[in-house]
């Protein structure tokens, strides 16, 4: 038990140490400071800009939004076409044909939105070419899109103009994602992750030499690091990071957890530099960290204590290891589960379906709140949008029109933040979830009816709308299942709405705020960089988040937990 907790604490310490280094680096990249990587990438970038005819002019909010939408649309179409023609494209050692159109569509949308919800098994659906050129390509661009939006948002909030999307996208890839991925991939190869284009190996099994086993291979290592670093989460293999070739040992598991946390934690620090207020950044960081710790604690304790009904049969308390890799253990699985749902990565190293109900509740809460630590870039933006909402709700109580960073929070800000934070999720999680449950026989294909099934359905839409991508699983959501078409198409709506409505709102919010005059700070101004206000923000986040989803948690995970505890 002690070993498990030590693993958790050490991992988190590493993350805290990385934060100021990486956060400072990101700030330097986007504040346009000179760095040695310039010498390598500057000529390349100049060529890209010249060939594509992109001007590096500053963009307005709508221009930035249009650039995001158009570029993402082009990428999605490109990837969809690759999928549909993968049968005739190279690097297809297993001779895979095109997937069904709805699987291709769902996968393209899922990956372009940085969600990577997978309604397929990687090794038997997509060729190496599709995995590398289509999915691997979107790993970088969707993550970079998130970073660009976050940076534009931070710029606007701190009174700067938003910048240029194409430049930000390029910088995010060349200065941040690509260099770190290169190093990370090499380390993963050294730790035992394969990186090959050779075909799967077919071997006789040890138990019975007459039975043949196919061992899937592929260019996994480079795929794996950007999967985690970019909060993508789409596995090369069906079982994702539970697969021994994606995540062979404790070291790779540690690298993956740290990679998931690196960007969203660092971006909070980057905000502190942009706002020239590191105290604000560390307070927000501390607040998220506190919620994160509570969630880890709940999940880890629940998993450690195990299933009371199983324990009663075994006659001794055992951790819940169902659906977990024994080489990783309960602590690493709980930490991974809470982290992957919190950071909107969506990679899994264990079956979330098999977690204890309270761990499931925590992971679902992560998806609902979207800020512990939140998705690549967008999570950080959400965090500050919550701060703006907290400023508005409580700021009036100091007797002034609420201000954030010296700028007034007025109608437009309230419209955008409340739309962003309060409305998108209920609409695109609760409504499709309710429809699926109302027609459970026709649509849902639930493997565990009852409270658990309710959580399975809600988790699937929450994962889509929050652009997380992890599956609670247990749903017949893959073709050729009869319910595959419903799941592919209905989640597409949540995927798109959960990605582009918030991005649009965030950029408009930042654009509007950047144009407001700055009001000087006095003793009559509400300070947001105090412990008190940080506590208030935490309260607003928990109340606003919990109020919307309390019934889902009560009728799903909590009811199930009480049922288990009651031994029914």
């Amino acid at each position: 038990m002690v070993q498990g907790w030590i693993q958790i604490v050490l991992t988190l310490l590493i993350v805290i140490l990385i934060t100021p280094v990486l956060g400072g680096y990101i700030a330097r990249v986007f504040l346009g400071e000179r760095m040695w990587l310039d010498r390598i990438f500057m000529p390349l970038e100049r060529m890209i800009y010249r060939l594509s005819g992109i001007s590096k002019n500053e963009m307005t909010g709508w221009q930035y939004i249009r650039a995001v939408l158009i570029s993402n649309l082009v990428m999605a179409v490109f990837v969809f076409v690759i999928f549909m023609f993968q049968g005739v494209l190279p690097l297809n050692p297993t001779g895979l044909g095109a997937p069904t159109w709805d699987t291709a569509l769902h996968t393209a949308i899922s990956f372009v939105t940085n969600t990577n919800q997978q309604h397929y098994a990687g090794e038997t659906t997509f060729s190496y070419f599709s995995q590398v050129a289509a999915l691997g390509f979107l790993f970088f661009t969707s993550a970079a899109t998130g970073i660009a939006v976050a940076i534009a948002f931070i710029r606007g909030l701190t009174g700067r103009s938003l910048g240029n999307f194409y430049v930000d996208l390029t910088l995010a890839i060349t200065r941040i994602l690509l260099p770190i991925s290169l190093i990370g991939a090499v380390v993963l190869i050294a730790a035992g992750v394969p990186e090959t284009l050779s075909a799967p190996i077919v071997v006789p099994t040890l138990e019975d030499p007459t039975v043949q086993q196919t061992i899937a291979l592929g260019p996994v290592a480079h795929f794996e690091i950007i999967k985690e670093l970019g909060e993508n989460g789409g596995g090369f293999f069906a079982i994702n990071s539970a697969h021994p070739f994606e995540n062979p040992n404790g070291l790779t598991n540690l690298i993956q957890i740290v990679a998931m946390l690196a960007m969203p934690t660092a971006l909070i620090y980057t905000f502190g530099i942009f706002a020239n207020n590191r105290q604000q950044a560390w307070l927000i960081y501390g607040m998220v960290f506190a919620i994160y710790l509570v969630f880890i604690g709940v999940a880890a304790i629940a998993e450690y204590q195990g299933n009371p009904m199983v324990n009663a049969l075994l006659d001794s308390p055992q951790p819940n290891l169902e659906g977990k890799e024994v080489r990783l253990g309960w602590a690493q699985s709980a930490l991974y589960g809470v982290t992957t749902t919190g950071t909107m990565c969506g990679a899994v190293n264990s079956m979330h379906d098999s977690f204890m109900p309270l761990s499931g509740a925590v992971m679902l809460a992560n998806l609902f709140l979207q800020i512990v630590w939140g998705g690549q870039g967008t999570g950080t933006a959400y965090l500050f949008a919550y701060l703006i909402l907290a400023v508005f709700v409580t700021g009036l109580m100091v007797g002034r029109t609420p201000e954030f960073l010296g700028r007034k929070i007025e109608k437009q800000e309230v419209v955008l933040t409340s739309l962003l934070i309060l409305l998108v999720h209920p609409i695109f999680i609760l409504i499709p979830g309710a429809i699926a449950l109302a027609f459970a026989d026709q649509f849902a294909g639930i493997s565990n009816p009852g409270f658990h099934g309710l959580t399975q359905v809600m988790y699937e839409y929450a994962s889509a709308a929050a652009n997380n991508g992890s599956g609670f699983e247990g749903l017949a959501d893959s073709q050729p299942a009869a319910t595959g078409l419903w799941w592919n198409l209905s989640t597409c709506v949540s995927l798109l709405a959960g990605r582009y409505i918030p991005i649009t709102a965030l950029l408009l919010l930042a654009d509007g705020i950047s144009r407001k005059p700055v009001i000087p700070m006095t003793t009559g101004t509400l300070r947001t960089d105090t412990g008190l206000f940080t506590g208030v923000t935490a309260g607003v986040i928990l109340i606003m988040g919990a109020l919307t989803f309390f019934p889902v948690l009560a009728l799903g995970a909590i009811a199930e937990a009480l049922q288990l505890a009651g031994g029914i």
Binding site: L396, L437, T522, L526
Partner: protein, 688 residues
């Protein structure tokens, strides 16, 4: 306490409007507001109203929206009770608004009574007069008003001189002298009465556009436009309502799937409990009450926006005279020179001011008598010499031929020199000393002999320093403007505790100061009365004009003080802040309440799902839990009406202190209070 501040304080507690029948009328209005066309203006409460109708329908037929597996009579009883509580929730919210409006209306009525339709004597171009109703008058036309008549509309005196009784609007019983050209005294207000002589007035406002009309429209709330903060808050409340609408609407499939189906009436109850009805029901009452508080201070605001802006003000630009100092200089010290004793100086000073009825003169007499001086002649035998701008001195000629004079130092020097007297440097030294201390020096002489100097001191209003301290704590900076020289200005500035001052200020300086502050992003408030203040009043974010001021000033300002007391600007800042705090506090309270309501309703209605353990309040039964939560939800509205009308108690604290205090009371209190209240209601309800 000066009489002025005392009077203001009295007025605060005794609104001049009659409130008899207020509640009766409010109850009637609460029902009138059930009209869907009026109700729809408040989206949160409108939803409750729609819910009430639906629950009324399922009271009549519980199976209307699908068969209910329960005893029908029991269902009817529960649904009926829910309907009743919801109906009262809507009524309470309507009542809150009606009470606030009623108070405004009462005030408007008392104002309107001053403006009964009068007949006016319109002056035609050929010089003849024609009697027309006052409502037929147009801007630019001239009317003649003679003693005993009511001035038909706002205007400016063109010719004539008369005393006017303005008590109807200012509450000040002493009549005011009105005459043309004199900037301040030339503007007249419709509804006031001429009590002597006659005036020729040029009308400056069309009927219905006058000053009182605007005030009536405003306090009645008829033209009440939502303020920016109110609009933003309404957006948030509407979005929250939509969120909970989605939450509740998607609940039936979840509940059915979990084999714990529920009824439409219970879902509506949950919805009403969750949507922010408390703040939704009180929001407009808070806004109206805020305007009402301003009106009770005898200030007319042109918009609610202006009142709200008061809370946001960063800088107050204040005139020294009348705002910071009393406006009259008073004798503080006698400084004898050239070997004269204090006694002889005091005796001369007393004699010099015997006939001087100005406050300065009377203060000199008072100081001299304090020093033991007595008259050494019969007052009837002496002759008073009045002050004139040419001589710049005043005094007394005694029967024995002695001439005593006091006045500006160089004027007295001239007087002495012309009578062959000699001047020593001692007087100049005294002059220097007084100036350095920020006072005004007067010299005193008898015939050709200088006796000494009088130190006239500018008296800072009592309590003003503390108020500036409070403002500073709230983050409001004060800048004093004065025509005095730098030395005098700096002494007063220090004594009053202002943050900054501008000496030898011209009206142009005023607008310059405002522009400078605004360039730094600050919101500026100022007071003014003269025509040359108008540009500055217009430039300032909050401009408070004095009612005694010119029409131009009043039109440029966004508020007018009927009592012409510039110190009120400070009170307005407090009112503006209080308005915002009240709104924020009740919003926080309303949202925080939801936690308890969730914990009351969800575990009990879904008890079949085995989540009874979440019923941490231990409520008796689902029926009792729902009714308790709804009763609490309904009763909290009237319970908070007094707070909404009076406003949250305001203390001049820093933002952090205010936040801590209010979060504790309304945030934490909002989480805890409903747990206790719902548990209590549950325990007294006769449901098992």
């Amino acid at each position: 306490m000066t009489t002025q501040t005392k009077r203001r304080r009295d007025r605060k507690h005794t609104p001049k409007a009659k409130t008899a029948g207020l509640y009766k009328r409010a109850i009637r209005d609460a029902f009138t507001k059930l009209n869907p066309r009026i109700a729809v203006r408040n989206p949160v409460m409108f939803l409750v109203w729609v819910g009430t109708i639906v629950t009324a329908l399922v009271t009549l037929d519980p199976n209307l929206f699908g068969t209910v597996r329960a005893d029908l009579n029991q269902q009817r009883l529960l649904n009926g009770l829910i309907t009743l509580i919801l109906f009262f929730t809507v009524l309470f919210a309507n009542f809150a608004e009606a009470v606030a409006e009623g108070r405004g209306k009462a005030q408007a009525d008392s104002l309107r009574s001053t403006r009964s339709d009068t007949m006016a004597r319109k002056v035609l171009p050929d010089g003849s007069t024609q009697t027309v109703p006052s409502t037929a008058l147009r801007r630019g036309e001239q009317v003649q008003v003679i003693a005993g008549e009511v001035i038909p509309a706002d205007g400016e005196v063109v010719t004539g001189m008369a005393s006017v009784d303005e008590s109807a609007i200012t509450g000040e019983s002493a009549p005011v002298l009105k005459q043309p050209g004199t900037d301040i005294a030339s503007s007249v207000t419709g509804g006031t009465r001429v009590i002597s002589d006659e005036l020729m007035i040029r009308i400056t406002a069309d009927p219905g556009q006058g000053f009182i009309d605007r005030m009536i429209a405003l306090v009645e709330g008829a033209e009440r436009q939502k303020t920016p903060n109110e609009i933003a808050l309404t957006v948030l409340l509407t979005v929250l309502t939509q969120v909970f609408l989605i939450v509740v609407a998607t609940l039936p499939p979840l509940a059915n799937y979990a084999h714990t189906p529920t009824t439409i009436a219970i879902l509506i109850s949950l919805l009403v409990a969750l949507i922010p009805t408390t703040i939704g029901g009180l929001l407009s009452a808070i806004g109206i009450a805020g305007m009402d508080r301003v009106a009770q201070f005898n200030v007319v605001a042109t918009s609610g926006r202006a009142v709200e802006a008061c809370g946001d003000v960063n800088t107050l630009v204040l005139d020294k005279t009348g705002t910071i100092t009393l406006g009259n200089r008073l004798a503080d010290e006698f400084i004898p020179v050239d070997g004269h004793s204090m006694d002889s100086l005091a005796t001369i000073a007393l004699a010099s001011s015997l006939f001087d009825e100005t406050p300065e003169g009377r203060s000199i007499v008072q100081l001299a008598q304090q020093l033991g001086a007595a008259l050494e002649f019969q007052p009837e035998t002496a002759e008073g010499i009045e002050f004139s701008a040419r001589t710049r001195m005043s005094g007394t000629n005694l029967a024995d031929g002695r001439q005593i004079r006091k006045g500006a130092v160089d004027a007295i020097k001239g007087f002495v020199r012309s009578r062959g007297g000699t001047l020593s440097s001692e007087l100049d030294a005294a002059y220097e000393r007084i100036s350095r201390r920020g006072g005004t020096p007067l010299a005193l002489c008898q015939d050709n002999e200088i006796y000494g100097a009088i130190y006239l001191k500018d008296v800072v209003k009592t309590g003003i320093k503390e108020r500036f301290d409070q403002l500073r704590r709230m983050g409001v900076r004060t800048i004093m403007l004065t025509g005095d020289n730098r030395i005098t200005a700096s002494v007063i500035a220090q004594e009053a505790g202002v943050d900054d001052f501008i000496a030898e200020a011209t009206p142009e300086d005023k607008i310059e100061v405002i522009r400078q502050e605004q360039a730094q992003g600050k919101l500026v408030a100022m007071t003014g009365d003269g025509t040359n203040d108008a540009p500055a009043l217009a430039q300032a974010n909050v401009g408070l004009a004095m009612n005694s001021g010119t029409q131009a000033a009043k039109e440029a300002a966004n508020m007018v003080d009927l009592d012409s007391d510039p110190t009120k600007l400070i009170d307005l800042v407090t009112i503006g802040k209080q308005l915002l705090i009240t709104r924020g506090a009740l919003t926080t309270f309303s949202i925080a309440n939801d936690i308890a309501k969730y914990f009351a309703i969800i575990p009990t209605i879904f008890a079949a799902a085995g989540i009874g353990a979440l019923n941490i309040m231990g409520l008796k039964s689902p029926q009792s839990a729902i009714l308790s939560a709804l009763i609490y939800n309904a009763l909290i509205i009237p319970a908070l009406i007094p707070l909404a009308l009076k406003g949250v108690e305001f203390r001049p604290l820093t933002a952090d202190q205010l936040l801590r205090r209010n979060i504790l009371i309304y945030g934490l209190g909002g989480v805890i209070a409903p747990f206790i209240a719902i548990k209590f209601i549950d325990s007294i309800l006769p449901f098992s």
